[in-house]
């Protein structure tokens, strides 16, 4: 189980937290043992469960560091892709500004479009978004399409679109 948990933590652990990976495995293990103890050994320890435990341990640590403002900013994180260009601080700042503008614009969309576009921007394909939101694929597709059009219009109004 520990070996599987090590792999699960490695999947989710960002490079800048890699030095804490062993500790995070330990945290996840303790939680699993606790759940096992409370369920009197009846809890099913599936791979899925171990992945969730690893995810929770890592995200809790990220949040803890966020609170203490120890999370490196985008431009300060180690670049793990040697071929990718390193942005200068001004560009990174501009990127952050786009992120804020997107959130602001999404906040102004009607809710169904906002939800559809948010999931799409998170990398979910239309069929996945439809399944998660309990919609038909056609409805999700329309909402993504129209929501992205709204988003573009809003960003353009902020001088960020084309």
């Amino acid at each position: 189980m520990r070996a599987e948990l090590v792999r699960a933590v490695a999947r989710v652990c960002p490079p800048w937290l890699a030095d804490r990976a062993d500790d995070l495995v330990q945290v996840a293990l303790l939680r699993i043992y606790d759940v096992q103890r409370r369920s009197e050994g009846k809890a099913e320890l599936s791979s899925f469960y171990l992945q969730r435990a690893a995810y929770s341990a890592v995200v809790d640590e990220i949040r803890r560091r966020r609170r203490r403002q120890e999370v490196p900013l985008e431009e300060e994180r180690p670049e793990t892709h040697p071929a990718a260009a390193q942005p200068d601080p001004e560009s990174a700042s501009a990127g952050a500004e786009i992120g804020r503008a997107i959130r602001d614009c999404l906040g102004g969309l009607v809710r169904p479009r906002r939800l559809a576009v948010a999931l799409h921007l998170q990398g979910h394909r239309v069929a996945e978004a439809a399944r998660l939101l309990g919609w038909s694929a056609k409805k999700a597709e329309n909402l993504v399409y129209r929501g992205l059009a709204d988003l573009r219009g809003c960003l353009k109004g902020k001088g960020m679109g084309r």
Binding site: R11, P14, R63, A85, A118, V126, Y145
Partner: protein, 220 residues
């Protein structure tokens, strides 16, 4: 390539860029809740509240993205295809490298607002079991638009082809072969040079579906 390609890529990166702070940390859903939402374990009403929260909270948007990445990785490494893992695992990162570089170049050249892309270390990862056998961004002629992938034996496949804004062009279900020729008629009206995305879902009896990573090709 349509004008939407770099724009959507940039929007996605900006929306999920790491390093954002939570405006009201006390309101953030627990990691377990985000995990449950991403895995479809929440009722739609509750899930919508979580998605709404991620719109306002860049920190939770990052947590959500992390859960999506874990889900994709885990789904693609589960119990099948382990024999092919070392090769596929290394191929995956080789395949992603030019894609990331190209995406960064597009943003730099066309938009002028570059963002870095956070990537995890490739070590300790295993290869996906549903994997495109095409180079990402490969040009395909509309008269012979053949998509190919590797996947678990005995699976049935669903292939979805869509534009970068999510407009579905073709969905083929119940495939048993690991390739699919997109009918030319389905691509009518799509200009040459357009980048399209495709994804394969593999289903084995009694098992959860497994998704390939989103791949893209350029229609010629």
């Amino acid at each position: 390539m349509t004008k939407d390609d770099p724009e959507l890529e940039e929007l996605r990166r900006a929306f999920t860029a790491p390093g954002g702070a939570a405006p009201r940390p006390e309101d953030c859903p627990a990691p377990e809740t985000i995990w449950a939402a991403v895995h479809g374990e929440l009722p739609p009403g509750e899930l919508r509240d979580v998605v709404d929260h991620t719109v306002a909270c860049p920190a939770c948007a990052e947590d959500w993205r992390l859960a999506v990445e874990v889900e994709r990785e885990a789904a693609s490494t589960e119990d099948v295809g382990r024999a092919a893992a070392p090769l596929l695992g290394s191929r995956r990162w080789v395949r992603l490298a030019p894609l990331a570089a190209a995406a960064a170049a597009i943003v730099l050249l066309v938009v002028g607002l570059p963002l870095t892309q956070h990537r995890s270390e490739p070590t300790l990862r295993e290869g996906p079991t549903v994997v495109s056998r095409l180079e990402d961004g490969q040009a395909l002629p509309r008269t012979h638009c053949r998509l190919a992938w590797s996947g678990p034996a005995g699976a049935t496949y669903e292939v979805e082809v869509h534009t970068l804004i999510g407009k579905s062009l073709d969905t083929a279900r119940g495939l048993t072969a690991t390739e699919y020729l997109v009918p030319e008629a389905k691509l009518a009206g799509v200009p040459s040079g357009t980048r399209l995305e495709w994804q394969v879902t593999a289903t084995l009896p009694g098992k959860a579906p497994r998704y390939s990573s989103l791949s893209s090709f350029i229609l010629r």
